[in-house]
Each structure stands twice: as C-alpha cells, then as structure tokens.
Amino acid sequence: MEEVKEMNLADIRKLLKELLIESLSLEDIQPDEIADDEILFGEGLGLDSLDAVEIVVLLQRNFGLEVKDMKQGKEIFYSIDTLARYVYNNTRIK
C-alpha cells in the first residue's frame, strides 16, 4: 500500500483497471478497452450491485480505504477516473 503514495493518477487508473478485471472476472476485456470516463454501472461497463460490493472489498484490500457511505460510493464508483481520484486523494492523507 505504501507504493500507492508514490503513484501518479495515470498509474492508479491503470492499476484500478487491472484490479477490476481480475476481481470482477471481466475476462473478455483488456485494461486499455476501459475508458477513464466510462460509466462503470448500468449502461456503461454493465457492472451491478454485487460488483459494487466487490469494489468496496478491492479498495479495502489494496488501498486500505473504507467506503461506508453508499451515497458517497455512488459518486466514487461512477468511473475509473472518479475511483482513481478518490484513491489518489485518500492515500495521500494517510
């Protein structure tokens, strides 16, 4: 988790894409096929509520971040970009 503090936003986006593909078994998708601003849920990447819980676990395991407020979660989980900004901002506070 320490090395995340050294990463820039682009690196975090790349790492998140790889983690999402692995954790959510998105086997048919390559990391570069996910656009930074692509909507993750619903009509975008097509993720669902169980995937949301999986992302909560992913953030906790890999970055030590806890998302407890689901309202906040909706904004954070909007796209790779919003997720990456959340990780970037919160890992630096720690």
């Binding site: 954790s23 959510l24 078994s25 998105l26 086997e27 819980v53 999986e54 676990v57 906790q60 395991r61």
Partner: protein, 347 residues
C-alpha cells in the same frame, strides 16, 4: 427412465465426442505437477463466448457443471414447451472446495469485512446447480446432493422418483468434482498414488493406486424414449443383487475407495469386464463417467478396449475396441463389501 443426452467435461476435453475419442484412444499420461500425477481439466476448455456474460462470476466447479449440463441438454435435441419443466440434480463428493478454502484463507488474511462476496456465493454447494438453472431458464425442481460413497447412484434414484411422480418430464442429472491443492495434499498423505500414472482397475488390490481426476458428467434423463436415445436405465440397486443378466460388467475401481478386493467376487462371472477410470482419473463421482461409457457402448453397439489391462486373475477383459451386439450393461460400484451398487442399462 431413458438416457436422451450426455454432456461431459474431463481431462481430454468437452463433449461426448471427445469422450468417445478418448475411449478409442485409450490410456494417456496424466499431467505431472511436482511429481504428482493428475488428470486435470485445462483452463481453455472452460471458456465459452456464448455463455461468458451469464457465468462471468462462476468458478471452475460451476463452469464444469454448467457446460456439461448444457451439452447434455443440447445433445438430447429436446425442445421444451412453455408449460414443461426440467429438473436439475447435481451430485458431488467435495463440492466447490477450492473456492471454499480460498474464502476461508481470505478471512484469515483480510478479516471478515475484506472477503469477496462472489467467493462466498460460489463457495455454497448449490451455486453450480443455480447457474445451470439460470442458463437454461429452468423453473423446475433443483437439488444438490453430496455423498462420498454413491453420489451418482443417489442422484439417479432421485431422478427416477421425480420422473415417476411426474414432477417433470426430463431431469438433467449429473456429477461434478474438482481438484485442488488441498485435495492433492490429502491424497498424497492418505492414499497410494500410481507412480507411473496408471490406475489399475483389475488388480483388485486391498491397497490400490489412484491418479486423481476432475470433471463433470451430466445426463438428460427422460420419462419417455426420445429421438436421441442411449439406452434405458432399468435398475438402480444401492445394496443388493441385480435381477438383470448383463452382457458386460463395468467396474468403478479407481483407487479412491480403498480396498478393491471385493470387485473380484462380482467380476468373476466369466462375463466381459471393463473399467475406464484410467481415461478420466480417480474420482468419487467416477461412476458417472463409466455410466457415460456404458451408454455410448449401447447406443453405438461398440465395445471399447480397457485402457489398462493389467490383470492377475485371468478375468475376461474387454481387450479390443470393436463392433458388438449388446443389450445390457451393469455398472458396479463397491465402497464396502456389504454395499454393492449396480446400475443396469438396457439398449
């Protein structure tokens, strides 16, 4: 009860044609990992673009179950009317234990708040049957059976009762089991592994050798004879003597149930004897694969050469692959001397 379709996933591929090819081809060397032989199912066999969205979250155990069940359904050629239901019975000895152990490991590593919900849902024994039911859009009865001795036999008995009770016209009935590091470790410690990778079903040893296998075998079982018919299951005896006089006896001896000396008594009838476990590996659900071999033999009127012929008792083994004229086969499994199970299939 008629066998109208078969679906199989095993070490040498997917589908009943792959299985028949393997029976024709005979014994092949298992894969070796750290000097441990096993008949593993390759990852490539478990991808299916048409199903990738529906079973995205499925683990290996569930994928093997779904693919073989779906193949059995397709092989039958049966199309269901809107008011018809199909039953699903999945039998297993160990269930999705790779996922279960991984889930437990995650609790230890990350705490209970840090474990994957998908892993949890896949660790439940009934997950695989649920995936099958979802993929088929089935609204019929669905059950998962767990049994260490006679999983397939118990599943067949249940299927027979569902069909008799007219709960459904067809039942997809099958078995699935997977390999894992834990399973391999347990077998290394507790069992005798064949150092040359060959299971020897006809040595009737009290300390037989095994080579672990994994896979799934499903059967579409129908109340009435369908266009695609492999044969009729005329008798399922868990304990007791068979009423039928078969042309061939297939035994499940594969080193997984300990002492195999009792197979000698039941095999010593002069009738041609076969056993195909060296093709697919040692499994508690091996009966389903031998049952598939028997079904193929009856449909194609073909006898397949036993893959490993080592035999000290002068048994009359099926020693060549050839055309034949057979009307009945008994599939025999013995877990204890007082518990002999016999499934009779007729042409």
């Amino acid at each position: 009860m008629f066998i109208s379709g078969i679906g199989i996933i095993f070490t040498r591929g997917r589908g009943i044609d792959s299985f028949e090819n393997a029976l024709m081809q005979g014994w092949t060397d298992p894969s070796w990992t750290d000097s441990f032989p096993a008949y593993r199912v390759a990852k490539e066999v478990l991808s299916d673009a048409a199903l990738s969205k529906k079973i995205r979250r499925a683990d290996k155990f569930s994928k093997m179950a779904v693919f073989s069940a779906l193949d059995a359904f397709k092989d039958s050629g049966i199309t269901l009317n809107s008011n018809e239901t199909i039953g699903i019975i999945l039998a297993t000895a160990f269930g999705p234990h790779t996922t279960t152990f991984s889930f437990i490991d995650d609790i230890l590593d990350y705490g209970d708040a840090g474990v994957s919900p998908t892993k949890f849902s896949n660790s439940v024994h009934n997950a695989a049957a649920s995936y099958i039911s979802t993929v088929l859009g089935s609204c019929g009865p669905t059950v998962t059976l767990t049994d260490f001795s006679y999983p397939f036999q118990n599943a067949l008995l249940l299927a027979e009762s569902w069909l008799k009770e007219e709960r459904c016209k067809h039942v997809l009935c099958g078995c699935v089991d997977e390999l894992s590091v834990v399973m391999e470790y347990a077998c290394k410690m507790k069992m005798k592994t064949a150092e040359d990778g060959k299971i020897r079903p006809f040595l009737f040893s009290d300390c037989p050798v095994s080579v672990l296998g994994e896979g799934a075998a499903f059967f579409m079982l129908s109340e009435e004879k369908c266009k695609n018919n492999y044969g009729e299951v005329s008798e399922i005896k868990l304990f007791g003597e068979s009423k039928n006089n078969p042309d061939i006896i297939i035994i499940d001896a594969d080193g997984m149930t300990g002492d195999e000396s009792d197979y000698e008594k039941i095999s010593n009838t002069g009738l041609p004897l076969a056993g195909y476990s060296p093709v697919f590996g040692s499994m508690k659900i091996g009966s389903a694969f031998n049952f598939a071999a028997a079904s193929l033999m009856l449909k194609k009127q073909h006898v397949y050469r036993c893959p490993v012929l080592d035999n000290h008792s002068q048994m009359n083994l099926c020693s060549s692959t050839s055309e034949t004229n057979i009307t009945g086969i008994n599939c025999v499994r013995i877990c204890r001397s007082d518990q002999i199970s016999i499934i009779n299939i007729k042409k």
